[in-house]
Amino acid sequence: MPTKYVLPPEWEWPITIALFIAGIAAGAYAAMGLIHFAGDKRDQAVAHRLGFVPLPLMLVVPLLLIVDLGQPGRFLNLLVKSPAAVERGGPLMFNSNSPMNWGSWAMVIFGAFAAIAFADALHHSGRVRFTWLEPLSHNIVVLAIGELLALVVSGYSGVLLNVTNQGVWSDTWLMGALFICFSELSGLAVALIVSDRMGTVRTSAALRTALFYAATVSAVVLLLFLASMAAQQDGSLTALIASLHELVGPVFWIGAVGLGLLVPLLYLAPRRLVPVPNASLSLIGILVLVGVLAFRYAVFFSAISFVQS
């Protein structure tokens, strides 16, 4: 007997894409930060090039979300309190109980950090010169805060799904973790592609290991996710499997699991576990990105609603 009698929120393509892109942006920023922290002089070039990535993506994301609302004028209500909402105090809108508010604010602020990174990238590309920028853009604290915001941006939507009453979404605590993992995957994938294109073999080597580790962690989290579903006495796992129907099924297993996790695990392992045909790192990076997109899709379209009929 179903235990949930809820309506589906009908979140579909625009949101899937938006969060995919936001994930890449946040992931790329994280990768950039990683190189700054862990890398040395010779890795910097890649970090600087990666700086170009977050800002443009973060400009696209809100556009997609606003389009999805169908009433562009109103998105501001997420940040600036509408005068009609007389019950709430203060000029700004922030409901600490709502992951969506966390997310919207995080995105806005993160945008600023993305901008700094972008400027820094410009600076290092030699096209424009912002000498005054160095101390700020390479400042550990600034990067750390940026990393933190990137974390919220990539993770909030997962937490948001946890904080509903939908089947699957709300049956686990691991959605946020999963989202962070997959956005990290996409970020590292981008970094790997960039690095590969730049021919910085040394950085690429480090990045492929990082991507391999990230894939490993993600795989573990995904297994925990499935386990936590199975742990639900109301048969959420069955429900999940059931929900993985038609398109969603293949997309999840082949796309998210196959491309997103198995590919990096097989190709990027320090020691090849099984023999596979050679492939360029860029190609692998692209495959991973596709896998991440597949993951987003699978998650959003698997929202199950038990409406008794």
């Binding site: 929120p9 990683l34 709502s98 009453n165 939908q166 946020g176 990045l207």
Partner: protein, 295 residues
Amino acid sequence: MSDLRGMFVDTSICTGCKACQVACKEWNDLPMENEAAVRDHTAFTGNSYDNTVHLSATNWRHVKFIEQIGPDPSTADRSDPRWLMMSDSCKHCVQAGCLEVCPTGALYRTQFGSVDIHQDVCIGCRYCVGACPFGVIAFNQRTGRVNKCILCQDRLEIGMGTACAKACPTSSLTFGTVGELQAMANERVKLLHSRGQTDAYIYGWDLGNSGKITAGPNKGTAVKDVEVVGGLNVFYLLLDKPEVYGLPAHAALPQRNFVPSAGVALISAAVLGVTGLAAFRRNRMAENAIAEGGD
């Protein structure tokens, strides 16, 4: 408590006439759900006398019909026949999931303790839709915003009661202050029990009643009052398990997952950070090893 307004839904005297559904549409000027379906003869469900299926942005009320003619639907046994009916709507939860997650302040708690929507604030993000444990609040394709029963806020403000409760011919729906309604409900349950109808219990508040189901497939199952999400300002007297009426046995706030989820997320992030650093470290050490070996 005396400030709170709500409704008591006594399903034991609901005749399923649907007056509440129409009265709601009349006062709130709601259109029909799907005229095309009615005209094309695709609206007939065959599900007892229920043809509006569930609550929606245009059906703020919905009467459910559960036929229990005999203990087992698949046999000819028609002993102790029951036809359960229940008028469903927004429960105006004391802890409302929709309200908790609303990122714009469109959903708000009224001076009557009910949950109303500022239509001019709602951005149609639909988060509340996913957050409601009862599948009440719904997205309105016509307006791009969400709708649900608002406990006739505009009537309450001019001192009237809800349109549905006023229309109800048998007072199965009663409007009043939650305190008085609880007392009334408790009295009603006790009366029914005293007459052997021990199935009666309250869904929404725990007033300490418990009994056994006397008919239908769940005959013999024990039932007892349940408090749901901190209490429901619109609460029910039921005669069978909540699931039978399409109500969750354990409704909960979505926020229950917020902190754990965020926590796990942070941990995973930390792990990822560490592995990232480890990755670089590993490579660099490998390089050095090679370098040394090279000498």
